[in-house]
C-alpha cells in the first residue's frame, strides 16, 4: 500500500512539474522580447535584462519561474485588467466556479443515482414489459446526456428558458446568484447525471442478478430493503472510477457555459483571456486547471486503492 501511494504521489508531482515546464517553454517560444525598442542602446538593454534577470541561463530562469509559481505569483495581467496581479484575479473568481461546479456535481449525482437505480430495478429479472420500457427511457436519457456537449444544453436553455419564456435571468446577477446561475448548474449537471446513471445501472443490475440478492428476495425482502442493504453499497464502488471523467467534463464545460451566462468564474476568465491574448492569465489558469485535475486524480487513486485491494496489488506488480 505504501509503495502504491508513493508511486501515485511521485507521478502527480512529476506531472505538475511537466506542466510547469511546458508553460515555461511556451513563454520562451512566444516571439518578441519586452525590450524591443530601437531607442535603447546595447548597454541599456543589457542593464534592463540584468534588472529583470533575463541575462541568466535558461535553467536558472526556470527555477525562478517554478519558485514564483509555487508562491502563487503569476505576474500581472496585460490586457484584461491592466497591472492587476493574476493571483488576485483568480482567487476572486474561484469561489464562484467552485460553487457552480459543486452544485452541478451534487445535482447530477443525485439525479443520476436515482435514474440509474430506477433503470436497474426496471431492468431486473421478472420486472415485466413496463420495466423494459422504463429502462429504455432511462437509457435514452443517458445516451443524450452523454453525447450532447453541455454547452449545447446551455445555449438551448438560455434561448428558451431565459430569452423566450423568461423563467430565469439570462445572465449572471450579483444580487441573485442562485437563480441566475441555475441554468449553468443544470446544463453542467446533465453530463454528470448521464455518466452516473449509466454506471449505476450497470453495477446495480449486476448486483441485482447476483446470488446473494436472489437469496434476499427469496427471504422476502422488499425492493427498498434490497436497495438500501445491498445495491447502493456495492454499486457505488464503480461510480468512483468515473469521477475524474466527470471532473474533466465540468472543467471543460465551465469554460463555455460560464461564458454563455456571463458568470464571473475562472472559466469565463480563461475564455476572455484567450480572446484578449492575456498570456499571463492563460498560463496561470492552465496551471490551476492542471493542479485541480492532478490533485483530484491522486485523491481518487488513493481512495480507490484503499477501497479495492486488487488495484494496489496490480499496481505494485507492474
Amino acid at each position: 500500500m505504501k509503495k502504491y501511494m508513493l508511486k501515485k504521489f511521485i507521478i502527480s508531482i512529476v506531472t505538475l512539474f511537466l506542466v510547469v515546464f511546458i508553460l515555461f517553454l511556451l513563454m520562451e517560444l512566444m516571439p518578441g522580447s519586452p525590450f524591443n525598442n530601437d531607442k535603447l542602446t546595447e548597454d541599456q538593454r543589457e542593464m534592463l535584462e540584468a534588472a529583470y534577470g533575463l541575462d541568466k541561463p535558461v535553467l536558472y530562469r526556470f527555477l525562478i519561474y517554478v519558485k514564483n509559481i509555487f508562491r502563487g505569483d503569476f505576474g500581472v495581467s496585460y490586457n484584461l485588467s491592466i497591472n492587476t496581479p493574476v493571483s488576485l484575479m483568480i482567487s476572486s473568481r474561484l469561489p464562484v466556479s467552485m460553487a457552480i461546479g459543486l452544485g452541478a456535481m451534487a445535482l447530477g449525482s443525485v439525479s443520476g443515482l436515482l435514474l440509474g437505480f430506477f433503470a436497474a430495478f426496471s431492468h431486473a429479472p421478472g420486472s415485466g414489459k413496463y420495466g423494459k420500457i422504463a429502462d429504455s427511457v432511462c437509457m435514452a436519457i443517458s445516451v443524450i446526456g452523454l453525447s450532447v456537449p453541455s454547452y449545447i444544453f446551455a445555449i438551448v436553455m438560455s434561448y428558451f428558458c431565459g430569452f423566450r419564456w423568461k423563467w430565469l435571468p439570462l445572465l449572471y446577477d450579483f444580487r441573485k446568484p442562485v437563480t441566475s446561475s441555475l441554468m449553468a448548474v443544470i446544463s453542467l449537471s446533465i453530463f454528470v447525471a448521464a455518466v452516473i446513471a449509466r454506471y449505476t445501472r450497470d453495477e446495480a443490475s449486476a448486483v441485482l442478478r447476483s446470488d446473494y440478492v436472489l437469496f434476499a428476495i427469496s427471504q422476502g425482502l422488499s425492493n427498498g430493503q434490497i436497495l438500501m442493504k445491498y445495491v447502493i453499497r456495492n454499486s457505488l464502488m464503480g461510480v468512483i472510477t468515473v469521477m475524474t471523467m466527470l471532473l474533466v467534463g465540468l472543467l471543460t464545460g465551465s469554460l463555455v457555459t460560464e461564458r454563455i451566462f456571463s458568470i464571473p468564474g475562472i472559466g469565463f476568465l480563461m475564455s476572455s483571456a484567450i480572446e484578449a491574448n492575456d498570456y499571463n492569465v492563460v498560463v496561470a489558469l492552465s496551471f490551476v486547471f492542471a493542479s485541480i485535475y492532478v490533485t483530484a486524480r491522486l485523491l481518487l487513486d488513493l481512495l480507490y486503492g484503499i477501497i479495492d485491494p486488487r488495484v494496489r496489488v496490480s499496481g505494485e506488480g507492474r
Binding site: I11, L26, V143, V248, I260, F289, A290, Y293
Partner: protein
Amino acid sequence: MDQWTKEDFILKGNENDFTIDNTVSGDSYWKGAAKRFFGRKSNLTGLVLLILLVVLAVFAPILSPYDYAEQNLDRADLAPRIPYVLSGTEKYNGTGGAFERNKYQELGLDNVYYFFGTDNLGRDLFSRCFMGLRVSLMIALVAALINVAIGMNYGMISGYLGGRTDFIMQQIVDIAGSIPTLVVVTLLMIVLKPGVGSIIVALMLTGWMEMSIITRAQTLRYKDREFVLAARTLGAGNSFILFKELLPNIAGSLITQIMVTIPDAIFLETFLSFLGLGLPVGSCSLGRLISEGFDNCILHSYMLFPCVIILVVLMIACNLVADGLKEAFDPDGRA
C-alpha cells in the same frame, strides 16, 4: 522419398453424406460481432442516422443551388423558406411589440427558397451547415485515424516487449495522461496558428493515450496464447507475430476505438471554435456555425438551431454506434 500424389488416396464413403452441424458450431469472430451489432435496434438507428448525415455532408453542398461561401448582402437575414412548409415569415419581438415580417416578399424574391435561411452576410445556411458538417467530420476522421495508428503501435510495442521498455512507456502514458486535455489543447492552439492542421495536431497529441492503453491490455491478453507460441515455434519473427497474429485479434477494439474517438474529436473542434480558438473566422465548420448562430440567436433564432440539431444528431448517432460496436466485439466486457 516418392512424392505422394492425389491418386494414391481413395475417398472413403459418400461425400454427400457430410453436413456441417450448425446448431453447435459457433460463428466466426466477425460474423458473431455483426450478428450482435445488427441485432439491436438502437445500433441500427445510430448507423442509419450516421449514414444519412454522411450522405448529406457529401451531397447537400453539391446539390444546393447556392455556394456556401458566397456573400450576397442584398439577401442577408432571410428566414428559412421551404415550399409548402415554411413561408419565410419571421416573428420579431421588438420594443414596439411583436410583428411579423417576410423579407422574401419585401425583396420580391418569388421563387427563391433558402431551406435554412441566410446568415447576416447573405450566405446560404443550408449549404453552410452541411459544408460545416463535412469539415467537422473530416477533421474528426483524420484525427481518429492518426490517434489509432499512434496508439495502436505504442500499445502493441509496449505490451509485446514487456519488461523495462513496457515500464518506461507506461510511466510516460501515466504522466502524459494526467495533464488535462483542455490545458494542452488550449495552449497549443494559442501558440499554433488557427486552422485545420493545428486542430488535428492538438487532437493527435491528446487522443492516442486511451488507444494505447486498450491495445496494450489486449496484447498482454493474447501474447502468451498457444497460437502465438505456435507461430514462434515455426520461426515467425516479431513483426509477423504482431501484425499477422495479434492484430487480427485486436481489430475489434481498434474499430470500436475509432468510433469512440470521432465524437470526442467533433466535440473538441466545436468547443475550440466556440471559444475562438478553432478554425479562423470566415471558415466553415459546425463549431463556427454554432458560435456565429449563438451571436445572432436573439434576433434570428433560425441561424442557431439547424446546426445545433445537426451536431446533436451526429453526436447521438456516433455514440450509439460506438456503444453498439463495443458490445458487439466484446459481449461480456472482458476488454
